[in-house]
């Protein structure tokens, strides 16, 4: 219930923070995942660097047809900012599913993404949005795709000394319908499965579709088999059901007290169908 001792730094600039992190300090953002672990002494970092207070990381802005979201933007910001609500509603909708009011007030998109919890909500949306994740260390900056960023359970493309500084998502074309559908684990509120769908219509058919899935396996993924089974097909319930059936294709599903692998895979199919249906109804 009480953390081990540690040193705390709250640098005024990102450069200073990156310097400390290069020396081995651990970044602290909202702390929604890290602090409970520290209290149980499952995590005992020696030095924390507070990123949440850096103005350099706290913004949501539109540039060149994309939304740039600073790592320190809270889930509440992402859920409610007019820019995200208006121009990337999938991300706003997903943020609204994270934790509870208090968690959304403190938790940040950068912290969540870097933590790479296999049951986190954002990754599903980021996969579907083909978001870009900007990483920076004391020695430079690079941008990776969502698909390349999330590698495995709690494992990302972040190198030692590197942090997430920004998430870039597209400004959604007006005709796209999007939806995030989540089956939540009732005790913790984490996703048993969460499915984000982006759907465009092509006349009476499905146009390009992106589906991102979280919770089902060790990391989030794009359900390309589902996407392929939709695009170009009639936008009907029959197509949706047939396509959603591929949601867990080739995926080694997780198993825990709350959902066996078999049940989880079945939920992935159901929630994929729901997400597609809902996104379709919102598309024009």
């Amino acid at each position: 219930m009480i953390a081990n001792s540690f040193e705390y730094s709250s640098p005024a600039t990102l450069a200073e923070a990156l310097g400390l992190i290069a020396d081995g300090a651990k970044p602290l953002s909202g702390g929604m995942s890290l602090i409970p672990m520290m209290k149980l002494r499952l995590a005992s970092p020696e030095h924390l660097v507070d990123l949440a207070r850096l103005p350099e990381l706290n913004y949501i802005r539109e540039e060149h047809g994309e939304l740039h979201i600073g790592a320190a933007a809270t889930h509440h910001d992402v859920e409610n900012a007019p820019l995200t609500r208006g121009k990337c509603p999938l991300l706003a909708e997903t943020a609204a599913h994270i934790g509870d009011i208090q968690v959304r007030n403190r938790g940040t998109i950068g912290g969540s993404v870097a933590h790479a919890d296999p049951a986190a909500d954002y990754p599903a949306a980021l996969q579907a949005l083909e978001a870009k994740i900007v990483l920076r260390s004391a020695s430079g900056e690079r941008t990776v795709s969502t698909a390349d960023f999330f590698i495995d359970t709690f494992t990302t493309a972040l190198e030692p000394g590197e942090i997430v500084v920004e998430v870039i998502v597209p400004v959604e074309p007006g005709l796209t319908g999007t939806s995030y559908q989540k089956c939540l684990q009732p005790a913790s509120g984490f996703a048993i499965v969460g499915v984000a769908a982006r759907v465009r219509r092509d006349g009476d058919n499905f146009g390009p579709v992106q589906i991102g899935i979280t919770g089902l396996t060790g990391t989030s993924y794009r359900a390309t088999a589902v996407e392929n089974a939709l695009t170009g097909k009639p936008a009907t319930e029959e197509t949706i059901r047939a396509a959603a059936a591929h949601a867990a294709d080739g995926v080694d599903a997780n198993s825990d007290l709350h959902a066996s692998a078999e049940y989880r895979a079945s939920l992935a199919v159901s929630y994929t169908a729901r997400a597609i249906r809902s996104a379709l109804s919102r598309s024009a």
């Binding site: 219930m1 081990n4 149980l40 002494r41 089956c183 005790a187 913790s188 709350h258 049940y263 159901s270």
Partner: protein, 777 residues
């Protein structure tokens, strides 16, 4: 004084009065144990076993001792002269493991206390606890009671290799004749899983020993301050009259604080060793691991009946998961289940066997309902199973078997004597409220459309107002003191120990009405053994039905006393007492109770045969339990694709006799229903084979949250109890007992087209999904 000037106060009993205890609670100024601060207060953190069963090879405390700020580190062998944790239940042949306050050479469950670190600060104490090194020789554990009974199972206590703590038999009527006469017999194995009470305030203790006075003050989060004091005084070998136990604001109990715990004695002992005040606050993780759990039944049930639905008799084999030790009432809880097995039904033949089984788990004990939810779930499930077998409507079979109003007082097959009731009337009200016939029509339509809609009925009875002293381990009476202060203000001291139930309000309502004083002039005190006369405490829905009755009788005695003083002051023989006045009917002259109080303390007018002062204390022994009952009906729908259950409607009609404050009654019922639905749908204390509590934090133990709870449509019938003068029956546990089987029966009903007869709890979506899919395959 002319009569016309007497101000009649509004009668308060029966009013929806907001609570008088709330101002301190909504402003954050109440004092819970953790809020107690004393000069030079030190803090203790306990080192606990991570293993379900292990021998302790060695413990190295040197590093912890060396940590600056650490005052002391104690292990089991340091504890000398302290008794073992008591068990108040007595059953023939009961095996009682010695339950030391710190482990000796072996640990029996995950969380077993092994060492304790005392430091100047809780952060340092936690650091010190981390430095205690314990070398364990890990042994095979057993956590499932049926596995524990199997030949060759690991022994929880080596001295009792069969893991059986006791067997208990209770028979009534002629069970063989009933089964011989039966035209149909239905059987079912029904489990009632372990539940974690999870009061929002964990336990906590502040102990303060004053060696010069040889006196101990112990602040502890308990439901039973006086009993805890008596038992802890015995454990610590100190004098009860030099031991002040205070239950400050208590943040929920639900039975989990109806106990005496190792930590209470341990903190007392440490304070005595160090001569310093010591505080220990349980973490949530500790609360999951070492505060008692509830339920833990595996029941094998059989019902014999006639083809027309008449129930003839019931057989029960009950395997109780006791855990590794007995806490205060551990072995007694399943005996309550046996008592209530007949439910509301008119059959006289019963055969019950309990096998109390040791496991490497935390002890089970009283959790809201304590034995009755298990029994009610069993009988209400069995009645539905019988109805299904006979193709009868579950409502019809209940009407057929109810005890009828003219049969009261009704002696049951298990030796109880039901006080009063009209079961059919209450049930009919519930059916009418929810439009039962209309629902069945809707259900037929839903089924035709391939939807899984269910209607679940539970007509429950329970045993409340614990209880006659012969039937309770520590005495079942309750006490009340009523004091007029010289100013005419009234202080009430109740031996109950309310912690959310609202007796500071309801007892003041009762007192105001009886004495005719403004409610603002009344204070109700409880929970401090140095202030309040001995009392039994708060559990078993007894506060109002026993404690309130004791208060009622104290108030009658007080009125008699007031009248004598009033008559003396008015210089007359006979006065009428009403509306806070004594009135001489012959002259019309009157004096107020305030004037009388002043005079009684002033001592100028002392009626013949009376003493000065106006204080009455009453200890009241209840002649019987009370037996509330009711009908809960839940409409649900199951999504076959995901197994998720949606509660569409929840109607509850409860008969708890008279009500002092219906607003508070509603609160008790809602909260009870949440816990009952929690058992039916979400909550489960799951141990793995090695003794790890898998659902050991809120991360994995699903507590009912606001978004999961349905709207509860609550109403009442009223058959006053003849057992006590208030006609009340008790409401603390009714919601918990009534709700669970209604929920399960609803889902079983929804899935009955698939041939489903029973589902064990909790009915998780995956379980439902498997049933639906299994039936497809």
């Amino acid at each position: 004084m002319p009569v016309s000037s007497i101000v009649k106060l509004e009668k308060l009993v029966g009013k929806r009065l907001r609570r008088r205890e709330d101002p301190r609670l909504i402003t954050g100024t109440a004092t819970y144990v953790e809020d107690v601060k004393l000069p030079n207060l030190h803090h203790a953190v306990i080192v606990r076993s991570p293993h379900g069963a292990a021998n302790i090879r060695s413990i190295d405390i040197s590093k912890a001792q060396a940590l600056p700020g650490v005052l002391a580190v104690y292990i089991g062998k340091d504890i000398v002269g302290v008794g073992t944790v008591p068990c108040g239940a007595d059953l023939p042949g009961l095996r009682r493991p010695a339950h030391h306050i710190l482990a000796q050479d072996r640990v029996y469950l995950v969380g077993h206390p092994v060492a304790v670190v005392v430091a100047t600060d809780r952060y340092i104490a936690a650091d010190g606890a981390d430095l205690v090194e314990v070398d364990y020789d890990v042994l095979q554990a057993v956590t499932d009671p049926e596995k524990a009974l199997a030949p060759g199972a690991p022994s929880v206590h080596p001295e009792w290799p069969d893991n059986i703590a006791f067997t208990f038999h209770q028979n009534g009527g002629d069970i063989d004749a009933a089964f011989a006469e039966a035209e149909v017999v239905v059987k079912q194995r029904i489990t009632s899983q372990r539940l974690v009470p999870n009061a929002m305030e964990t336990r906590g203790v502040v102990a303060d020993w004053k060696s010069n006075d040889r006196s101990l003050t112990l602040h502890t989060s308990t439901q039973i301050p006086h009993l805890a004091r008596t038992l802890l005084a015995g454990m610590l070998g100190i004098e009860e009259n030099r031991f002040r136990l205070i239950a400050p604001e208590v943040g929920g109990g639900f039975g989990s604080k109806l106990n005496v715990y190792a930590e209470e004695a341990l903190m007392g002992w440490i304070s005595m060793q160090l001569g310093l005040p010591v505080k220990w606050i349980e973490s949530r993780r500790e609360n999951f691991m070492v505060t008692i759990h509830g339920r833990g039944h595996v029941d094998y049930l059989e019902i014999a009946a006639k083809r027309d639905g008449t129930i003839l008799g019931l057989k029960l084999k009950l395997i109780q998961d006791l855990g590794a030790y007995h806490q205060l009432l551990t072995p007694a809880i399943p005996t309550l289940s046996v008592l209530m097995m007949p439910g509301l039904y008119n059959f006289r033949n019963i055969q019950a066997e309990i096998i109390g089984t040791f496991t490497n788990c935390v002890p089970t004990d009283a959790y809201r309902g304590a034995g009755r939810p298990e029994a009610t779930h069993g009988i209400e499930r069995m009645v539905d199973i019988l109805a299904a077998e006979l193709n009868m409507d579950p409502a019809e079979i209940r009407f057929k078997n109810f005890v009828r109003p003219e049969q009261f007082p009704f002696p049951t097959a298990t030796g109880l004597n039901y006080d009063s009731g009209d079961y059919a009337n209450t049930f009919q009200k519930a059916l009418d409220t929810i439009d039962y016939q209309g629902l069945r029509t809707q259900q037929a339509e839903a089924r035709a459309a391939g939807r899984f809609m269910g209607i679940g009925i539970s007509t429950y009875g329970e045993i409340c107002a614990m209880g006659p002293s012969v039937a309770t381990p520590a005495g079942g009476w309750e006490s009340a003191t009523v004091k007029f202060e010289p100013s005419g203000k009234v202080t009430v001291l109740t031996g109950t120990s309310p912690h959310g139930q609202g007796q500071e309000t309801t007892f003041a309502q009762l007192t105001a009405d009886e004495l005719g004083v403004p409610i603002d002039d009344i204070v109700v005190l409880h929970g401090d053994t140095s202030i309040v006369q001995y009392g039994i405490g708060t559990f078993g829905s007894r506060n109002t039905a026993v404690g309130g009755a004791a208060l009622f009788y104290a108030l009658q005695d007080m009125k008699e006393k007031v009248k004598k003083f009033g008559a003396a002051m008015l210089k007359t023989d006979e006065v009428i007492f009403e509306d806070g006045h004594c009135l001489d009917p012959k002259t019309g002259a009157s004096v107020t109770v305030q004037q009388i109080a002043g005079a009684a303390y002033r001592g100028i007018v002392i009626p013949k045969g009376m003493d000065p002062g106006l204080v009455v204390t009453k200890f009241w022994e209840p002649p019987n339990f009370t037996y509330p009952f009711g009908a809960h009906i839940i409409v649900s729908e199951v999504d076959p694709e995901t197994g998720q259950i949606e509660i569409k409607r929840y109607v509850a009609v409860d008969d708890i006799g008279n009500q002092l404050n219906p607003l508070l009654v509603d609160g008790q019922l809602h909260g009870g229903a949440a816990q009952g639905l929690g058992q039916a749908l979400w909550e489960q204390g799951v141990y793995d084979d090695n003794g790890q509590l898998v659902t050991g934090e809120f991360m994995d133990y699903t507590m009912p949250r606001a978004r999961m709870m349905p709207w509860i449509e609550s109403s009442h019938t009223c058959t006053p109890s003849p057992v006590n003068p208030l006609g009340v029956k008790g409401v603390g546990e009714a919601g918990t007992i009534g709700s669970t089987p209604a929920m399960v029966n609803s889902v079983v009903d929804a899935l009955s087209p698939l041939g489903v007869r029973h589902i064990d709890m909790p009915m998780t979506p995956e379980k439902i999904w498997k049933i639906v899919n299994g039936s497809k395959a």
